[in-house]
Amino acid sequence: MKVATIAGRAVHVDDEGFLTVYGEWDEDLAETLAARIGIELTDAHWKALRFLRDDYRSQGETATLRRVSVVGGIPTRQLFTLFPKKPAKKMAYIAGLPKPRGCV
């Protein structure tokens, strides 16, 4: 596991830069992570990110797009608008959660 300095803070990350320690994340960090991939966070983004954070705490897994839409109530089409091209991966990155598991 590597340690990276993001927003002036040392955090643990994997090879692709996903945070690996749930408690090292906060909302300021999210703004920085989002900016790194060209996203400016709005209320709509935050609704998805907060769902992801809460769901991870209870489930121990990063929610899939289908779960964010069915359980979190955010339509998939909107997730593609908010986090273009790769919404599942981008949401997890900004929310400081493990990359969604590639379901093999």
């Binding site: 289908r66 069915v70 359980v71 089409r77 997730l79 593609f80 091209k85 991966k89 379901c103």
Partner: protein, 409 residues
């Protein structure tokens, strides 16, 4: 008497019943419920569209596959009442249980994608091959195919046998070449994954194999709807087709949802090492029906049942379960022209090249296209009916081994 009720007599359910029947204490009675009295060899569906198997080679009556002395009920399941510890069948019959095993698998749900089932093209230019009927009807559609755009497509993960769509594509390429119409056909592989597969080494190998066969990969393609004969993604990419071979959304059984036991895909959340329900201490979910993060595949059912049987005997004796399932899976991957690959992996280790099951010897070669792997896949059908389902010993360890694997690429 104490009651074990097993819901589903597919691969996992049949194996569990055969294994536990021999080992449960005398005061336990086993009841099995399935809505069908026919057992299908699902890996055989892949070959039906190409006429390589006859239908009767992939289906047998289920009763003779289950032991005498076990109650077998052919019925639809209405609901599980976890608080009452009973199962209600359609028609009102009630089955009390002391332990419940849910092994009702997943099924393709074309109704979940707008325009797929209801757009007028289902089983005309849109086919699936994960059902017996679908595979048979695809066989005649392929016979009539004269060239054009043939698209293999996955709606969303997880799916049963995640390598099957790749295998179908390889076999279709070989089939079209044999018929001399490959140059009149565009082959497209549309997947919600970022590449051919999820794990890096296997994705490189399998991706290269698609490339060599001139297959266009459309990665990160999450379908929103089917518009006539065009797939439309949530980010408005459009893939037209003349023949679509799709893997519809895979969902667990509806009774799981009605019983409040499922997640958003009607899969039962379980502990990934013991397969015990995360909310009910007397319910296990085996095979495709659970939510463990590995392949939905018969090999996973097999290896996990190996661990489960010992655990279950401990559990009913009130002792802690000491077996831990590691997510072990392996799959033969048909690549066409009488060759195939084999992959072997678990929760923590991606598919790697090497030899299996004997280090350095094989006979199978991991992640390499070889005839021996193809013959292994064909021989497996016999082993499935005669060794695997009856629960006879197969000399393959339940846990994945690193011996014989090469970690340097």
């Amino acid at each position: 008497m104490r009651n074990l009720v097993v819901l589903g007599a597919g691969t996992a359910g049949t194996m569990v019943v055969n294994r536990l029947h021999r080992r449960l204490p005398r005061d336990w009675r086993i009841t099995v419920v399935d809505r069908s009295d026919v057992h299908h060899y699902q890996p055989g569906y892949l070959f039906l569209p190409f006429g390589a198997y006859r239908p009767e080679q992939v289906a047998k009556p289920s009763r003779p596959l289950l032991p005498q002395g076990v109650d077998v009920i052919c019925a639809d399941i209405d609901q599980v009442m976890p608080e009452l510890r009973e199962v209600r069948l359609a028609g009102g019959r009630r089955l009390p249980y002391d332990r419940l095993v849910i092994a009702t698998g997943v099924e393709p749900r074309p109704d979940q994608t707008p325009g797929m089932l209801d757009g007028g093209q289902w089983r005309r230019s849109i086919f699936d091959f994960y059902t017996y009927d679908g595979a048979l009807q695809l066989a005649s559609a392929l016979r009539d195919f004269r060239g054009g755009r043939l698209v293999t497509h996955i709606v969303d993960m997880p799916i049963k046998c995640p390598v099957a769509p790749l295998e179908f594509t390889f076999l279709a390429d070989a089939h079209l070449r044999r018929r001399g119409i490959r140059d009149r056909t565009d082959l497209v592989y549309a997947t919600p994954l970022p590449g051919a597969f999820t794990q890096p080494v296997a994705t490189r190998r399998l991706g290269t194999m698609l490339e060599h066969r001139g297959v266009t990969v459309e990665p990160d393609f999450l379908v929103e709807r089917v518009d006539g004969t065009t797939l439309v993604s949530y980010d408005d990419r459009r893939i037209p087709f003349d023949l679509l071979v799709t893997v519809p959304l895979n969902m667990g059984a509806e009774f799981v949802a009605r019983s409040g036991l499922g997640d958003e895909l009607n899969l039962v959340p379980v502990d990934r090492h013991t397969l015990l329900s995360r909310s009910h201490p007397d319910i296990f979910a085996l095979g495709d029906a659970n939510d463990i993060p590995t392949s939905k595949a018969g090999s996973v059912a097999h290896f996990s049942v190996d661990v489960f049987v010992g655990n279950f005997l401990q559990h009913i004796a009130g002792r802690p379960m000491t077996g831990r399932f590691d997510g072990h899976a392996n799959c033969f991957v048909e690549s066409g022209d009488g060759k195939g690959l084999l992959i072997d992996f678990n929760y923590d280790t991606q598919p790697l090249p090497g030899t299996y099951p004997l280090p350095g010897v094989g006979p199978f070669r991991l992640l390499e296209e070889r005839a021996v792997n193809h013959w292994g896949k064909l021989a497996f059908r016999w082993a499935y009916w005669h060794l695997l389902l009856p629960g006879r010993p197969i000399p393959l360890p339940a846990h994945m081994s690193m011996a014989g694997k090469h970690t340097e690429e």
